[in-house]
């Protein structure tokens, strides 16, 4: 036995070193956290800086005459073949009467979006009374005008290096001066499907595609996942087979998502002959992808239910089923829902498997059902990021912001659900 004096000396001799180690560890941790937060801040600042402008869009105010000669040459309004673009162009030319010559006029026309003509048509379709009247209307400007307005195209550089000519820049300045060119909230971004024209492209198609897909996923993956977890945890005998199943489920959770896409292509499209590019197939594939996540989370939630509750119920004469459905499930449900929502947000952000089943196509129409061709939010981001037009850059960022907002909402829901339903025992 050492006497207590030497023990004290030894402890004190080493104390400084121990404390220093602790300090170093703490500082390292703080540094790591700071670096992480910094990266996140840079990412968000960049994203918002680039994407926020997409929520505003440049519009041009024109006095459009709904000329009966053009719209109803035979006395009847022709919504299909009438020259709506011509009406808008005429209105724009009235602003610049000095412009003459074919090429100059074409330059002028290029400042308009092709959406302007569609807008006139839709207005007339909604209200045939407009025929013969002149109305002051805000119509979308072309994306190049929009880019100049937002400062994304610099008019001071050499004319050959930018898609906007000197003449167009001049007209833009003139329209701006007369208050006929202004930025307004970009409704089209939320109400339109995809388009080749950036100023008309919207995410509604992708949003609805993702929505239908997640419906399929949650309807399939949640009940199957929870049922599998309950069976494996409560009823399955523990033998070599159940061990094998457990290992495989854990492995499935780690399988790269594109492999699931390939499986979906082979099984659902080639073999089961389901439609290509459909949210139904996307949802099926994403169900496969999220099932292991849900099963693992649900099993953990079931395991966390204290055995004393089971014993209490069994001791009262509850059957195994009653124990599960009266006691285990209610207590495990918050954890199961959290797992499901986290699985769903993973599914929402997934793009690779969707590429394999044809959901990467350029689809203008907003899907109206589970078997309509559709794309999904992350795929839309991929498609826009791939587009050459300058104006798609900001839309890509805007779509990312929207996707992240949805993910945030879903994860918040998971947290709130857990807090709300969590019961103490």
């Amino acid at each position: 036995m050492r006497d207590s004096a030497t023990t004290r000396q030894r402890v004190e001799a080493g104390l400084k070193r121990r404390r220093r180690k602790e300090r170093v560890f703490r500082i390292t941790g703080m540094l790591a956290t700071t670096v992480g937060v910094l990266f996140l801040a840079v990412f968000f600042a960049d994203l918002v800086g680039k994407g926020s402008t997409a929520f505003m869009q440049t519009f041009m105010q024109l006095d459009v005459e709904f000329s009966a000669d053009v719209l109803a040459p035979d006395g009847e309004i022709d919504l299909v073949y009438a020259d709506f673009d011509g009406l808008v162009r005429t209105a724009l030319r009235k602003e610049f009467p000095e412009v003459s010559g074919r090429s100059d006029r074409r330059e002028l026309n290029r400042m308009l979006s092709i959406g302007a003509g569609y807008q006139i048509r839709d207005m007339l379709a909604a209200d045939p009374e407009l025929l013969g009247k002149t109305q002051s209307i805000w119509v979308p400007a072309s994306s190049n005008v929009d880019m100049v307005m937002k400062g994304n195209i610099d008019p001071s550089i050499d004319e050959a290096l930018r898609p906007v000519s000197d003449m167009q820049v001049e007209w833009i300045r003139a329209l701006q001066a007369s208050g006929r060119l202004a930025k307004k909230f970009n409704v089209a971004l939320f109400t339109n499907g995809d388009s080749r024209e950036p100023e008309l492209a919207g995410i509604k198609g992708a949003l609805m595609g993702s929505f239908y897909m997640l419906i399929v996923t949650v309807v399939l993956a949640f009940p199957i996942g929870v049922a599998a977890a309950i069976y494996l945890e409560e009823f399955a005998p523990s033998n070599r087979w159940s061990d094998l199943i457990e290992v495989n489920i854990n492995n499935l959770a780690a399988v790269p998502s594109i492999v699931f896409g390939l499986l979906g292509l082979a099984v659902f499209i080639n073999w089961a002959a389901l439609p290509r590019s459909a949210p139904l197939v996307g949802g099926l594939v994403l169900s496969l992808l999220t099932l292991p996540v849900i099963i693992i989370a649900s099993r953990a939630a079931i395991k966390a239910v204290p055995p004393s509750i089971r014993e209490a119920a069994l001791g009262l004469g509850a059957s195994e089923m009653q124990v599960v459905f009266h006691h285990v499930l209610p207590l495990a449900l918050p954890g199961m829902l959290t797992g499901t929502i986290i699985g769903m947000s993973r599914a929402l952000g997934e793009s690779a498997p969707l590429l394999m089943i044809g959901m990467v196509a350029f689809i203008v129409d907003v899907p109206a059902g589970f078997s309509d061709p559709a794309t999904a939010l992350p795929v839309q981001i991929y498609l826009w990021a791939d587009s050459p037009e300058r104006a798609f850059a900001e839309r890509t960022s805007a779509a990312i912001i929207i996707l992240l907002a949805f993910l945030l909402i879903m994860n918040l829901t998971a947290v709130i659900l857990r807090k709300r339903m969590e019961r103490k025992w």
Binding site: P237, L316, G317
Partner: protein, 310 residues
């Protein structure tokens, strides 16, 4: 020293399990070694004989356990135990940790069924019916044999729902009014009604430890069982709560056969009519409580109740 210690303490006070071990080891390591060797000898003899000292039979037996062996995998947890329990009995199962008393208790309502590796051989009959028989559903058995656990385990539901759960799943109440009556009488009999009658909607988990345990007893008697098994029902409670539970056991003993596992010999002495002493899976001695504590027949029983082993 140990004896004096035991007598000095408040008779209400539970001795935490495990105190014996550390105490004996620290105080008399040499003597203990001898006694442990002795004990092993005696156990060997006992295994050879396979005989339980005292009186395993009783008049009008309600539960008859014959030659019970329990295995957990390769572990032989209970060895050839025979014991009869009468309807009017309060029998305490005592013995050192790991001696098989809880295992035996769990055989009586087939709670061992839920342990996959557990295997029970022998015959246990209740009211003449083999409870391990093919045509007996453990669910029906557990409605007749209630159980109170070591740690109070109310459901995370309201006090009312806790008590009403058993009657509900077994369909014992025809309507809401009858269920109300069952809940009230059960709480009353468990001595809890006065404290909780204004807050039946509040969660049962919000009660104090002693109240929770009485709630668990109320929940058990709401099914109106014939036997109540108690697995160290007071080991997680303070002395006052323990005293209340013991009083309650006394009251309940007029209507139910009670089998109680306890680590506290004082408790066994206070509440039980008969005592069964288990050691390493063997039932060493069974007798009336008085006789066990004043005049134990077996050397092991004597060593245990005087605190020499534990």
């Amino acid at each position: 020293m140990r004896m004096a210690n035991m007598m000095d303490v408040d008779p209400r006070e539970d001795q935490p399990p495990g105190l014996h071990d550390t105490g004996a080891a620290a105080e008399r390591p040499v003597e203990r070694a001898t006694s442990a060797a002795d004990t092993n000898n005696v156990v060997e003899q006992l295994t050879d004989l396979g005989e339980t000292v005292g009186e395993v039979r009783c008049e009008n037996p309600f539960i008859v356990a014959e030659n019970i062996d329990v295995f957990y995998g390769d572990n032989h947890a209970i060895k050839d135990v025979t014991l009869e329990i009468a309807k009017s009995d309060v029998i305490a199962l005592i013995g050192p940790s790991g001696c098989g008393k809880s295992t035996f208790l769990r055989c009586l309502n087939r709670m061992n069924d839920s342990i996959e590796t557990a295997r029970v051989t022998g015959r246990i009959s209740m009211d003449g019916q083999d409870i391990y028989g093919k045509n007996l559903d453990p669910v029906a058995l557990r409605a007749r044999v209630g159980m109170v656990f070591q740690k109070p385990n109310p459901f995370p539901k309201s006090i009312y729902d806790n008590v009403a759960y058993g009657p509900r799943i077994h369909g014992l109440a025809a309507d809401r009014a009858e269920l109300d009556t069952i809940v009230h009488t059960s709480l009353e009999r468990a001595g809890l009604l006065k404290e909780v009658k204004d807050r039946l909607d509040e969660p049962g988990t919000g009660l104090s430890g002693g109240q929770q345990q009485r709630l668990c007893i109320a929940r058990t008697i709401a099914v109106n069982p014939e036997v109540i098994l108690m697995d160290e029902p007071c080991s997680a409670l303070d002395p006052i709560a323990t005293a209340r539970i013991e009083d309650l056991i006394d009251e309940l003993s007029s209507d139910y056969a009670i089998v109680i596992v306890t680590h506290s010999m004082q408790q066994a002495a206070r509440v039980s009519r008969r005592v069964a002493y288990f050691h390493l899976g063997l039932l060493v001695e069974v007798d009336e409580t008085n006789r066990i504590f004043t005049n134990p027949q077996h050397r092991l029983t004597e060593d245990y109740i005087t605190g020499r082993i534990g």
